[in-house]
Amino acid sequence: MKPKISLVILFALAVLHLAPAVAIAQERKVKVVCTLPTLKALTEEVGGNRVDVIALAKGDQDPHFVTPTPVLMQKTRQADLFIENGFSLELWADQVANGSGNTKIFRGTPGRIVAGNGVAAMEIPAVLTREMGDIHPQGNPHVWLDPLLAKVEAGNIAEALKSADPTGASFYDSRKADFFRRIDNALFGPELLKLVGIQKLTRLAWSKELHPFLQSNKVDGQPFTACGLISPASSASSWSGPLRSDPAFRPGRSIFSR
């Protein structure tokens, strides 16, 4: 009887000993610090409940001029991943990352992610001089304003999460695919996606040919009708507002219906 009781106690102790470890392993989330709320949103879309993510900048804050306070450094100290947009937008990011003393997120380490990697730079100044005022030497950094480029950023984030958390690779892939599908549907509509295909639509959109392509083609004898343009192509050159340089306001980006 005694050996049985001992075994039961031993087993119970083992379970009690292992249970917290299992619980911790299950609850261990990838800690992600993003510079911008948009990147946080993308990370949450891809990472779901496997990530614990915060953004350093506020949604209504100018991302160029975030103050690298000690509190931001403290919040960044335990991060597994530090995700920034890139294109020299967050010049304050290095100060936060270095000030945190977190070696996992120093520039050049696997934990430091530039979400804009792979996005072709636009509007790179031909001449880099302060005579031009406050310039972005690496081109227009506001890439997330274009949903198609936001997909590129989400893809980079997914790859980073897969590296940081290999056991969740399929989870991140499926969430990324679902996110992409939702973006594509919202952007083009399921009918157009079926007819033309996302790859061709993406190419046409990036090359600003989507509008003429849809105008010159009919499906079942019915033409596509432009409901409106986000930025009229004819007046784009005279656009003088602050959004002129944003990719989402490229001339020719249109909303179509049938």
Partner: protein, 460 residues
Amino acid sequence: MNLIRKGIFSYAICCAWLLSVPQVSHAQVSELESLKALVENMQQTLQKALSRIDQLEKEKAANSGKIERLEQEVASRAEQETASTQPAQAAQPVVQTSLGALNPAISVIGNFVGRVDNRKIVNSDGDRIDSRVNLREAEIDMRAPVDPYADAVLIASLESEGGGKFSAAIEEGYVNIKKLPFLDEPPLGLKLKVGRFRPAFGMFNILHTHDLPTTFRSLLTEEFMGEDGFIQNGLSGNFFIPTPWDTESSLDATMEVLTGGDLAIAPETKSRMSYLGHLRWFRTFQDVHNVSLGWSSYVRPAGNGVGSADFHGVDFLYRWKPIRQGEWKSFLFGGEAMFARRTYPGASEPSDVERAITLKNLSPGRAKPFGVSLFGQWQFNQRTYGGVRGDYTKTLFDPGLSRRSVTPYLSYYLSEFLRARISYEHRWSDLFTENNRNTFLFELNWIFGSHPPEPFWVNK
């Protein structure tokens, strides 16, 4: 009869046949005609169908040609874009070439000061420095990663008090050791700094002259540390003290081991090592209100025939910077207070102050040097900042003597890299050489090259 019947029958048959033959031929002709018409009709229909097919094929060909043309155009444009981004991304090397990538980021800072004084001012070399214009400082800031473990900073300065004489100095030259090969994760986010640097005493000492909110350092800093503040060789470690109960606050400590001397309160160069500690608590309230509180202590033990020295300080800063309007409106209110536990008759004094007074009130052992400096600054718009600083300090060599000043100023940023400032300073002092001194100042500060990082609150 039968024959007749047969004949009649035959006749009838023949007649019928004869009568029927033309009808048959007539029916055959109409059928042929109808067939012919039908064929013609079919031919026309076929012709129409063929022409429709041709038309449709032409349309299809035209459309597919258009699609192909569009696809070709897209492909060619993509190639062109790729080609055009190649030089553009290769143009990044304009910012950082493959060779430039290994060189440090360099910034040059120029600081020009013009002043008008109502009294004569003489520096430590005996040169008059009142009422003149002067390139006060030219500073070269270089910084780059050394390797994966450390970043290096070198700041060389050429300084002048006037008269065209410049003195060269290494204002700062240190390496920041970010991590160690045998320690993947430094405890508490420890960061080490080794070399020559501005010790972390108080809030203003770590700032370079051109980063100050006012043209000159406070009387307090001059009195306890020196005209240019405190710069020393040594080792510095900064680390966080966890505050898990409050995620919106930060507590960090800096511990430094420094060479003794080169400090107004302890100028003896033959002194031994000294020690400095700084504790800072920082909190953000409602995203827009920042509060920082700090405590600093400097201790130099006795040794090598030199007595001990120590002084301490508290610093605080309140900053209001709204999220949306933060680049247009902000408010700063801060200050420092320093004190020592005894007098320092051997203390060095600011270069523009002659100790032209009898030490009549010197009372060692009883009085304690003390000083405070307060400043407030309001941002009027994106470019314009106005503020005022008030200083009060007892002298180290005789705490019975005090010095006071008030300095209103107005700073205008033409850009982040070019700043103009006008200010006025009035002094009241028990040192009669500086009592009732009025000084009008104009300062122009410029930076070119890459922009070095600043402390989080500097000026703004």
